[in-house]
Subunit: 215 residues, 2 copies
DNA sequence: TAGATTGTTAATCGATTAACAATC
DNA sequence: TAGATTGTTAATCGATTAACAATC
């Protein structure tokens, strides 16, 4: 497997497409296909084939002219590149409906996510188990972050508490927040946030339906 | 309220920011603030103030030089522009954990979303009620789409069924799909899709944490 | 009036797409 | 070999940011 070491930082749009390539490669591997062209990947994702080649090239993988990309090799390369084999323990904060749904869903396991524990401030929730994970009081969070060396939090709480909880968990040592709360969080330099902005998506789709938007 | 009629289509990044402006305006209205500057909105969202002015301008609203934007007027203008007052009935397909979470969540009501009914193929689920909404058999979907004039579907089903279900509901008349399934859907021209790609978000956040990514 | 803030044009930046030589 | 496909440079496109005249 030739790898072209490339220290350039990968653009986020590229990064978000890579899991799609990975999924396609997984299906193709199951179907026992040995090689795949950028054009074929592009076709199944309805994007440009140059983009597929550029994205793959950005991960440092090198294909074979005339032949395409080795399905198994590229799949394994993307696994390494995207760090699926690194276990990423995370705390889920907020055992409401969405939190419970995410706790029960195990589809992210293959990307390395492990929800190590759940936290909530509601005494009725504390002590119960959700999908084999314990629900703890928020007050235990700082201590448990240190014990388990957890850097990531998944925030599934109402928007009105989101900033206060964020301040609390960042003080406690959390470095990355996957935010499902409808709120724009202020965090210090060096803390990473990914907003899962469901409202924006819904509104975008509504306006597309009403014809206000291209595509 | 001066409105500068503008027929240009709005860019999607702009559209996705507008709900953030709306939420800020709502808070400011509660605090009884009369006017707000683009710089102040920009500060709370950590973006550029020119962008705020450009985005607002794209909706056709006109502010007052030296004074800023009228909070109440702009909030109401955005409500109209984003169509929050138009009720958008939608069918939720897939009464799994995520589907149940979305069905129970009423935070999208203010944007006009109304989940009119839930569908599932699992006989154990059919007939139950989730948050006062009935769960129906998928076979009733085509008829009910016609009866209720529903154009939007929320897909919360496993990835492996996503394409088949999509074909089925598109045939039945669905025009817009909010897709939570981990799958890239093929649809005919004119059918709108918004992919809520949770995996891509999680992977992006993971790599940010590992320092592979800027910001 | 002077100062602050808008609205918009121009400049910059970055991502996507086109073109094409390299190559197995 | 001829043809197909890669990898990459150049061109295009679109979004963000800078600059600044208009204005209340």
């Amino acid at each position: 497997m030739r790898i072209n070491m490339n220290t350039k930082q990968i653009p986020i749009p590229t990064l978000r497409r890579l899991p799609n390539y990975y999924n396609i490669l997984c299906s193709m591997l199951v179907e026992n296909q040995k090689f795949v062209s950028s054009a074929k990947i592009a076709l199944s994702l309805d994007i440009d084939d140059t983009q597929v080649r550029k994205d793959i090239s950005a991960t440092g993988y090198v294909g074979k002219p005339k032949v395409g990309f080795d399905v198994k090799e590229l799949k394994e390369h993307l696994e390494l590149f995207l760090g699926f084999k690194n276990l990423k323990p995370a705390f889920l904060i907020g055992a409401g409906n969405l939190g419970i749904a995410l706790a029960k869903y195990d589809g992210f396991k293959k990307y390395g996510l492990h929800i190590a524990a759940i936290f909530d401030s509601n005494p009725d929730k504390i002590g119960i188990k959700i999908s084999n994970k314990d629900v703890y009081s928020m007050s235990l969070l700082p201590q448990m972050i240190k014990e388990h060396n957890v850097k990531m939090a998944i925030l599934t709480i109402p928007g009105e508490y989101a900033q206060d909880v964020t301040n609390f968990i960042v003080d406690a040592g959390i470095k990355a927040i996957w935010n499902f709360a409808p709120a724009t969080l202020k965090v210090p330099e060096g803390i990473h946030i990914c907003n899962q902005d469901l409202a924006a998506s819904f509104i975008t789709l509504s306006l597309m339906l009403e014809g206000e938007i291209n595509t």
